[in-house]
């Protein structure tokens, strides 16, 4: 029990108080729980290593197979291209949604309604049928002779249809993320820029969006990771040279589906791990001028980092 004797103030102010050496609080149950978890994990790993169904030999053989690594590269390219298009389109849609112009606002709303309201798999199937629905694309004034006619099949192969399908769907989600970021910026920023005579677009571009980036980047990192995995749906187009599609092809040829699923998973895990590190550095870059907002270390959790100290008055 602690005594109730009042703590006497030191006579001399110059005299330093003794550094506190308290006994640390113990957490015995944590240790017990850790041991249980580790044991369970070890059991699972030992069992998996010996279980023939996993086909570890086949796994090792195909992990760096040239077809697989080429497919992994394709998956990366698909991810990067669709994300780049999605981010640009998403920013445009978000800015449009917040525009004072009701027509522009309505267009953005309609886009979001359609592309968020239908499954990405269904959208990808539709894009695959694009050339069937629109055999030719004509340029010119409606109801007159076209200036130029393009055969859809000639310039849109399945790869680009997959990119378009993924990008247009993702843009709808990016738009919501960007909109949330823009709305998080203090209203005073907008006012200060307006009072300086900056136009609405200038205010957005130079003042609001750069500040919104701090809020936008963590969830965008999640979207990139999510996109990397969504690319496995491009079989719906059908594009089959991505990581998942290619490993299915290989496993169909050698009649061993499980080891190739593991191969694909290993590559997906490698890429997502790299993306997490990249996200850490991006977050650091965009927390400029806001002291405490920096994440302390790369987080392996995909949950967005909460950003503190967003008020400009700090």
């Amino acid at each position: 029990m602690a005594s109730h004797t009042p703590v006497a103030l030191s006579d001399s102010a110059a005299e330093q108080a003794e550094v506190i050496k308290a006994i640390k609080l113990r957490h015995p149950w944590r240790n017990v729980f850790a041991v249980i978890v580790l044991l369970a994990l070890a059991l699972f790993v030992i069992d998996a290593a010996q279980r023939p169904a996993y086909g570890w030999e086949t796994f090792g053989k195909y992990l760096f197979d040239q077809r697989i690594s080429q497919a992994a590269l394709n998956t990366l390219i698909l991810t990067v291209l669709s994300m780049v298009i999605a981010v640009i389109l998403g920013v445009a849609l978000a800015v449009m949604r917040l525009s004072p112009n009701p027509v522009v606002k309505g267009v953005s709303w309609l886009y979001l309604w359609i592309f968020r309201g239908t499954p990405v798999y269904v959208q990808l199937v539709f894009w695959g049928l694009f050339a069937t629905i629109y055999k030719t694309i004509e340029f010119g004034i409606p109801f007159t002779d076209p200036w130029a006619t393009l055969t859809t099949d000639d310039f849109l192969d399945v790869f680009w249809l997959a990119v378009i399908g993924l990008a247009l769907n993702e843009a709808a989600y990016m738009a919501e993320i960007v909109r949330a970021g823009i709305l998080s910026v203090d209203k005073g920023q907008d006012e200060a820029a307006t009072a300086l005579g900056m136009s609405w677009l200038q205010t957005m571009r130079r003042v609001v969006i750069p500040q919104a980036m701090r809020i936008i980047i963590p969830p965008t990192g999640n979207e990139v990771i999510s996109m990397l995995k969504t690319t496995s749906l491009v079989a719906a187009v059908p594009y089959s040279f991505d990581l998942y599609g290619r490993s299915r092809d290989v496993s169909a040829a050698i009649f061993e589906p499980i080891p190739l699923l593991l191969v694909a998973s290993a590559w997906y895990l490698l890429f997502t791990s790299i993306l997490m590190v990249g996200q850490y550095f991006l977050e650091k870059r965009f927390s400029r001028g806001v002291g405490q907002a920096r994440p302390d270390k790369p987080s392996l959790l995909t949950t967005p980092t909460t950003v503190q100290g967003t008020e400009s008055t700090k």
């Binding site: 300086l196 200038q202 001028g289």
Partner: protein
């Protein structure tokens, strides 16, 4: 032309829904003079200031800056809303300083200052930088050019904000409670800058609770309460010898 007052308000009214914030405000600020708006919070001082800069739209009456109607254009007896570009041009000639500074946190002090001159006025970056440094020197922060707002004290941030507004070479400066968010010991440095500005002949409208500043610097003081001008006149008259009971009650609390 010089006879035209810098700010002329003629029976200006403004309401937010059923809340009548401004009720028939008429006042005049001659060129080169300093007007202090005082009064309890919620009396409409800030709203009036924001109307001058067209951050809020006036519902009734006429408000003109330098002889030009704010936010509207009058042609053939009809009022037309201004195009955003023209409204922005009007605002760019009026400097505004906010209670919460509203510096751009992702830009350094100097970048904050040169942003609008380069973007809105199209001044070359090198010219804007030279002018920006000069302005920072004027507000006593020449050594803080590369600092981000988060690393400046409130008083320093507000002085940068004043320099940022001055960089647009405004003909009128509006101050919306510029020292209310500051620690008491930092108020003086901001008031000193404002005093210097007033001495240089800048036309200023200052919403403030600093009666000492109003007494010393203002050419006229307007006391507002509940959306109306209760009393106005020379600072000595209004602040030392108020005629109206409401003014007396207010001053007895703040002095």
């Amino acid at each position: 032309m010089t006879d035209v007052p810098m700010v002329l308000a003629d029976r200006v009214s403004k309401s937010f829904g059923s809340n009548h914030v401004l009720r028939s405000i008429s006042l005049e600020v001659p060129r080169g003079e300093v007007l202090c708006l005082v009064g309890p919070s919620g009396s409409g001082k800030s709203t009036f200031l924001r109307c001058i800069n067209h951050l809020e739209r006036v519902d009734a009456g006429r408000l003109a800056v330098d002889g030009t109607l704010v936010g509207y254009e009058e042609r053939g007896g009809k009022l037309y809303e201004l195009r955003p570009k023209v409204a922005a041009k009007q605002r760019s000639d009026i400097g505004m300083v906010f209670q919460k500074f509203n510096l751009f946190p992702h830009m350094t002090a100097l970048e904050n200052i040169i942003e609008a001159p380069t973007l809105v006025r199209g001044i070359s970056k090198s010219k804007a930088l030279a002018r920006g440094k000069e302005l920072l020197d004027r507000v006593g922060l020449a050594n803080k050019a590369g600092s981000y707002p988060a690393h400046l004290s409130g008083g320093q941030q507000q002085r940068v904000a004043i320099a940022r507004a001055l960089a647009m070479d405004p003909k009128l400066m509006l101050f919306d409670e510029p020292t209310s968010a500051l620690d008491p010991e930092l108020v003086g440095e901001v008031l000193d800058v404002m005093k210097g500005l007033a001495e240089s002949g800048m036309t200023m409208i200052v919403v403030t609770h600093e009666m000492g500043f109003a007494r010393e610097v203002a050419d006229s003081v307007v006391f507002m309460d509940d959306g109306v001008v209760v009393e106005s006149g020379r600072p000595d008259d209004v602040l030392t010898n108020p005629q109206h009971a409401r003014t007396k009650a207010f001053l007895s609390k703040v002095l």
